[in-house]
């Protein structure tokens, strides 16, 4: 073929493609900037992204996403989203608190919502979403204490920040509540709620760490472990999968891990769910209908913002008495008759 013809064909095709790639820019666009760990973490980022995807499915809006690889990405990612003409920007994670504040103050006409961060004083164009995960983790701790055969349960976190340690606090309190009610002495490894010290991987992405930390806790006698570090916990789950769920069970966090990780569903006793998908969806709906206002929403057991997942595959190991005690606890926490710590 002649070079000329090829060039002509190529340039024609190129121009056609250019035209085809021009998008209609009118649709409402919800954008998410994820925290470390990636959008496929089966946990924190993925749950929030599901909220955006639900909004896409329900209302036909557009969505965009930027994944943060490290803390230095937050600011440019948020700026990019502002530049990309997003109507509402979902910042996922406590660590993005300052970057979001900066972006929101520099762009007062854009709407932002951030998960796990509460501003004091509040910023007019940022809606913070925080979750009383300690309430749900309390239930998980109680159920773990009741199910544990060794009398030792364990937990570890990603980084020592409030949205992580909230889970660990509740878990430890739930165990001590069980001890108080039953006169038992189930131990919690990996977190001391009074000293605020415990086991941390210091990252949200190493599955190897998840495996190693769970192995350590298992070696110390723990037969139930709650990893609070996003996808890191999947490493713990694969260890449990190899050992067998009679030796080691895992408590999922953020989403229902039996559902998000069906390959290893046999190892999840329950999950401490933080329903960011539901709250994120409703924030997007508020923004779309023009009812957005900055401030704070708090997800609790009462409003369904947090909860524990069904026992699924391992429901046989939870006695019906224990299950009904947990249900009573849930009501007690909602009514305020049960103090967690």
């Amino acid at each position: 073929m002649k070079l000329n013809t090829i060039l002509k064909l190529a340039s024609g095709a190129f121009a056609g493609l250019l035209l085809a790639t021009v998008n209609s820019a009118n649709a409402f666009t919800a954008c998410q900037v994820t925290d470390l760990g990636g959008v496929d973490d089966k946990s924190f980022n993925e749950t929030a992204w599901k909220g955006v995807q639900d909004a896409v499915a329900k209302h036909g809006i557009d969505s965009k996403i930027l994944e943060s690889k490290d803390g230095t990405d937050y600011e440019p990612h948020l700026n990019s989203m502002v530049g990309a003409g997003c109507d509402i920007i979902v910042a996922v994670g406590f660590l993005m608190g300052e970057a979001t504040q900066k972006a929101a103050e520099a762009n007062p006409d854009s709407m932002f919502t951030i998960i796990d961060f509460a501003y004091n004083p509040t910023i007019p164009n940022v809606l913070g979403q925080v979750f009383a995960t300690d309430q749900a983790a309390f239930l998980a701790g109680y159920v773990s204490a009741g199910v544990s055969k060794t009398g030792i349960v364990g937990t570890f976190g990603g980084i020592n920040i409030p949205p992580v340690t909230g889970f660990m606090d509740g878990f430890a309190w739930g165990v001590s509540h069980y001890n108080k009610v039953k006169g038992k002495n189930v131990q919690v490894l990996g977190w001391d709620p009074a000293a605020k010290e415990g086991l941390f991987t210091n990252n949200f992405d190493s599955l190897d760490d998840g495996r190693a930390f769970a192995q350590n806790l298992y070696d110390e006698g723990a037969d139930i472990v709650m990893p609070v570090a996003g996808p890191v916990g999947l490493g713990s789950a694969s260890l449990a999968d190899e050992l067998g769920s009679d030796k080691l069970k895992i408590i999922g966090v953020d989403g229902d891990w039996t559902v998000t990780d069906p390959a290893r569903k046999g190892v999840y006793l329950t999950s401490v769910m933080k329903n960011m998908d539901a709250t994120t969806l409703s924030v997007i709906e508020m923004a779309k209908s023009g009812n957005f206002s900055g401030g704070l929403t708090v997800g609790t057991l009462e409003n369904g913002g947090v909860g524990i997942a069904p026992y699924h595959e391992l429901s046989s190991s939870v006695s019906s008495d224990l299950a009904s005690e947990v249900e009573a606890l849930r009501k007690g926490i909602i009514s305020g008759s049960i103090k967690m710590n």
Partner: protein, 365 residues
């Protein structure tokens, strides 16, 4: 042609080297981007997505003032650190330790940044110098070990990186450094007087390009001058080309190795300090963000030449900024950019491969 002759003279190289310096990187980049897009198509994306991604890569890196600002912001620490690695290469040293040197330099800089009260220029100067000094000091360890015990610098710098990561976590938890009210490893914020001024805030407060980029250009010129126009630079190159010949010619090779390594660390320390001072404002446990490793690639692509480092640094900055835009407008994963970067390195490292793919760009030898 006149210009190219001038450039040739500036580089003082013959025709084949000229081809090597200019054609190979450009062809490597084009090949890498094409292969990256092919990969995208193979993963089942439509050709439209691939094209949107390609356009986004350019628009997001050079298509607007803010894109350019992001490109240069990302390029700044890469240029600093890669200059250091280039100095190492010239002296025959393979410094894998820029990441650790960035961490140590940045950490020292952040401490000066929040704990000392001084007027703007003084504070900035002190902070950057201390960062550079600590980076140099950290690299000195590897240089000294190499010169006086024969320990290979690749091993020692890798190990010192690991130590730096843990040192950072440790230091960021000391009450004197840790931000008030936080339990995770994060430092206090530097004072306003320790921030490198942003250059284009008058146009738009979101533009992040800061004076560190100007310093990086100054550093390029300075390193060029040192390597090619000073005695010490000549000694670096002698030691790098043939250690025995250098010794025979009377060069104190031990001292030269220590100096070259320290100079490399000085540049990396500056990278850390300018990143803290111009972009981040504080240190967190991942603040080095792999810059020290990317910088190795930048130095390789720049053929260990300061001018080459400047351009390849800007190219890698463009990949960062353009990659972000690719993710936003084409929904393509940022991992593709990592693949493209890796492919560029492979092609640059294998010049014969590039020459055999595009034989007609190169004269016969």
């Amino acid at each position: 042609m006149k210009n190219s002759i001038k450039i040739k003279q500036a580089f003082s190289v013959d025709r084949t080297t000229f081809q090597d310096i200019f054609f190979i990187p450009i062809l490597a980049i084009s090949l890498a981007i094409s292969l990256g897009l092919l990969l995208l198509l193979l993963t089942g994306e439509s050709y439209q997505t691939a094209l949107t991604a390609l356009i986004a890569l350019f628009v997001g890196s050079f298509g607007s003032v803010s894109a350019l600002s992001e490109t240069l912001t990302a390029a700044t620490p890469l240029i600093f650190a890669a200059l250091g690695i280039a100095i190492g290469f010239r002296a025959g040293l393979f410094n894998i330790g820029a990441e650790g040197q960035i961490i140590v330099g940045g950490l020292a800089a952040v401490i000066i940044g929040f704990s000392v009260e001084l007027p703007l220029m003084l504070h900035l100067t002190l902070m950057l110098s201390v960062g550079a000094a600590f980076g140099a000091g950290y690299a000195f360890i590897s240089g000294w070990l190499k010169a006086f015990t024969g320990a290979h610098e690749v091993i020692t710098t890798i190990m010192l990186n690991l130590i730096a990561f843990r040192l950072l976590d440790f230091f960021l938890r000391l009450p004197f450094i840790q931000k008030e009210g936080r339990n995770d490893p994060i430092s206090k914020s530097v004072l306003d007087t320790a921030e490198l001024p942003r250059l284009l805030v008058l146009i738009d407060p979101n533009l992040r390009i800061h004076a560190g980029f100007l310093l990086a250009i100054l550093a390029v010129i300075l390193v060029y001058w040192i390597i090619f126009h000073t005695t010490i630079g000549f000694e670096f190159r002698m030691v790098g080309t043939n250690l025995n010949a250098a010794k025979y010619a009377g060069v104190n090779s031990s001292l030269t190795i220590v100096l070259a390594m320290s100079a490399a660390g000085l540049c990396a320390g500056l990278a850390g300090a300018s990143q803290i001072s111009g972009v981040l404002g504080r240190a967190t446990s991942g603040f080095s963000a792999g810059i020290g490793f990317d910088a190795i690639a930048v130095a390789l692509l720049g053929r260990a030449h300061p001018i080459g480092v400047l351009f390849s640094g800007i190219l890698f900055g463009a990949l960062v900024a353009g990659g972000r835009e690719m993710q936003v407008s084409a929904g393509v994963s940022l991992d593709l950019i990592t693949v493209i970067q890796a492919l560029i390195i492979i092609f640059v490292a294998a010049p014969i491969l590039v020459k055999s793919i595009f034989p007609w760009f190169f004269g016969k030898k």
